[in-house]
Symmetry: C2
Subunit: 506 residues, 2 copies
Amino acid sequence: MAKPPQHAIQPTRSDDYPEWYQQVVRAADLAEISPVRGCMVIKPWGYSIWENMQQALDGMFKATGHVNAYFPLFIPMSYLEKEAAHVEGFAKECAVVTHHRLEPDGEGGLRPAGPLEEPLIVRPTSETIIGEMYAKWIQSYRDLPILINQWANVVRWEMRTRLFLRTAEFLWQEGHTAHATQEEAEEETRKMLEVYADFAENWMAMPVIKGEKTAEERFPGAVATYSIEAMMQDRKALQAGTSHFLGQNFSRAQEIKFQDENGSEAYAWTTSWGVSTRLVGGLIMTHGDDDGMIVPPRLAPQHVVIIPVLRGDDTTTLVMEYCEKLKASLEGETFNGAPVRVMLDRRDIRGGEKTWQHIKKGVPLRVEIGPRDVESDSCFVGRRDQPPKQKQSIPRKDFVGTIADQLESIQQELFNRALTSREQVTRQIDTLDEFRDFFTADKANPSAIHGGFAHCHFAEGEQMESVLKELKVSLRCIPLDAEEEDGKCIFSNQPSRTRAVFAKAY
Amino acid sequence: MAKPPQHAIQPTRSDDYPEWYQQVVRAADLAEISPVRGCMVIKPWGYSIWENMQQALDGMFKATGHVNAYFPLFIPMSYLEKEAAHVEGFAKECAVVTHHRLEPDGEGGLRPAGPLEEPLIVRPTSETIIGEMYAKWIQSYRDLPILINQWANVVRWEMRTRLFLRTAEFLWQEGHTAHATQEEAEEETRKMLEVYADFAENWMAMPVIKGEKTAEERFPGAVATYSIEAMMQDRKALQAGTSHFLGQNFSRAQEIKFQDENGSEAYAWTTSWGVSTRLVGGLIMTHGDDDGMIVPPRLAPQHVVIIPVLRGDDTTTLVMEYCEKLKASLEGETFNGAPVRVMLDRRDIRGGEKTWQHIKKGVPLRVEIGPRDVESDSCFVGRRDQPPKQKQSIPRKDFVGTIADQLESIQQELFNRALTSREQVTRQIDTLDEFRDFFTADKANPSAIHGGFAHCHFAEGEQMESVLKELKVSLRCIPLDAEEEDGKCIFSNQPSRTRAVFAKAY
């Protein structure tokens, strides 16, 4: 067996984080670039993680009273024109369908034919098409609230794409709700932010800051945008989910009206909220290490992989039988309310190569079984949150009996680790010099990772904007749990009552 | 309470079947036409049925070794050109993306801008884009088989659309597999046909004929196409799922090559197979009656609806408490391996209206609970496979204790009924006159439903084609279980060894 390299992923995180990311996506077989500009192919391991995310989120949406439905992929161009800020936000990057067939071009190829009367936009988000339907469905206060979610693909013609983080097509869910009162719509907006935070922290093991965006960073057409912000290992923030209170902006633009209890006509109050396959990117960048992906157990397609270590002699049958039995007994146990997911890797390739594949994919627990383990009725176990060579022999019965605890412990460890990482790069900053310093690379060591979350007093305005632009930093959000305190904006010296959190971001 | 009409759906099936279908889709709140040409909005009740179909099928796909992945929505125009029959099949009806942004048109509106170098097609099916990836992924026989399924939306620019049955955009799954040998690929093709037949019969309660398509009806580019064919209540067939053996046609067009065990280069053998939201249409047309939809219990979003019948007096609390308890105890029971799904309809609308809504939606079991039912500790139960007024009082304990049996009995009854219906309209036909007669409307009663499945000896050729065209009949398939027997083609008198099944079709 060839000696494995010191780290399975080259370059390492500290060498070159962006390239490390691409290499993890490749090594873990999560996704790859497709021949179609900006679109990715999500490979089975990556898709399976997304399926687990979907299932968890879908359960949470349903538990909070939502139902799923499906709306058209296409949006008539004229719909986008209805909400001014909205068109401004999306018109510059959308796929436009102009024809409905192909015909021979006379040179052996094809050309578009059958021009459409009105061009169609491939949905970049569905407020306008869904709002159009809601306007039909909602007549009376009795028709409210409408609490609908959609799982769908959307397209935004990004010029610079990165697998999972920013692609022209991505998969997501978009919730769209309509309410009779402002209070109820605001409550819904915050409730869904809580759902996202709960999911991020308890399923993804990714700590997040819940906060409100400033006007500058709002969703096009929203009255208020809330987000959850996570900190990646390269000290950049990732916006991991957003929830928008749309006020009556869309309902006025689209005539979503109803008769209230007093018989008067009123516009509905709407919300929208979404998370996307970008979360898979967040998972990689939160937990991955220099050996590849680490999948938190609650989202792992496989919790345990069993790797038979065969000598090619007469012990093979014995080892394989032991592995099969082990698999069955592990599958009889439950973790997080469902049977433990176990893969027995029967492939005829070398054990070392096999083991490294599963390390790179981030399977939480690896069990190597050779003739000696069978003899001692034990399991040789490696935890993905520990170094690859730190393995331990555990009596089979103990291993099987405590499997849920072990998985839970990995889940918890990943969260704690991410939280510690975040705390290490979080500063309360009170001067512009310190702020500049925090977000400026070390001249002696320009490739060294720097920055993080800076909590600062602020006042929106040109002075702040110009510094942020210069440093390529953004105001991520005003944390919901920010305490009121007297302070001065570090950019303008104006009085400030609360701190916002700043970071470089994806 | 207004007396309900004799039938909840007008017109009835025998009055005007196509219009009855539209009215059921509306009355059951399954879907509606969207403002986007040819695209539908799948409403929560309809989508929930589709989700249940997805879940069942997905489990069957995984149990047969498949994994899910996701490929791009767009296909470069040049890809379609690679497989000649394939482009012929799809070029005439596809959405073509030609621009990637919108700009102001100078008159307050927008116009497409940013022309693409190469137009993109919104996938009508994904053989070409998936094949392109497989060509990269497959190097050696060790990389085979690849067994991938995708859940996705696809677009085919149909000019005449009908909700669920034929829409420009629809949801489906498409399996795409690649194998080292012809035998293995053929086995896969037939295995997935069996999965579809199993699903249709055991989940949808819809009997199907499994068979092979003739050359004329094959998927564009396939060597062999198999389908499952169901009989609707208007005596028209519905193709409910297809499985294609693609031979090496696509692998040659796309260079999907591998080194076999002997080190020689070989083209892979590929298959594809799919079912779509069309199945929801099949469900309606197989089981629906003149009061609306009937959802087979295994696919029903709700198995039981509890409808409190309140007098507006002091018995209200008592009734509601009884209903809540009943709901909880029903949910403690299991059906088909999962908890019984129960809805307690707490809405403040009249009991009669409520009951009829659930009848139209096709909920398998309705339980009305009034003060007298509480007093006698019983349930007043209506089964959706029986007339609306045929209800019976059942002691609560018996009702709860036998809930799984009752649901299973409805499932079985629906299948039996559909099978009987199909048998009643199935003929073995041996003369052209009889064939014409079978498929020609009664002049005295031209709107009367006629036709069905005709099993006939046949020989492909112009004589057959011209009769079929004239009668608007198609050869559905050659049943896999057709026995060999000597016969003569009813169209041409040529010798024939097996019967095909003919029908008018959707």
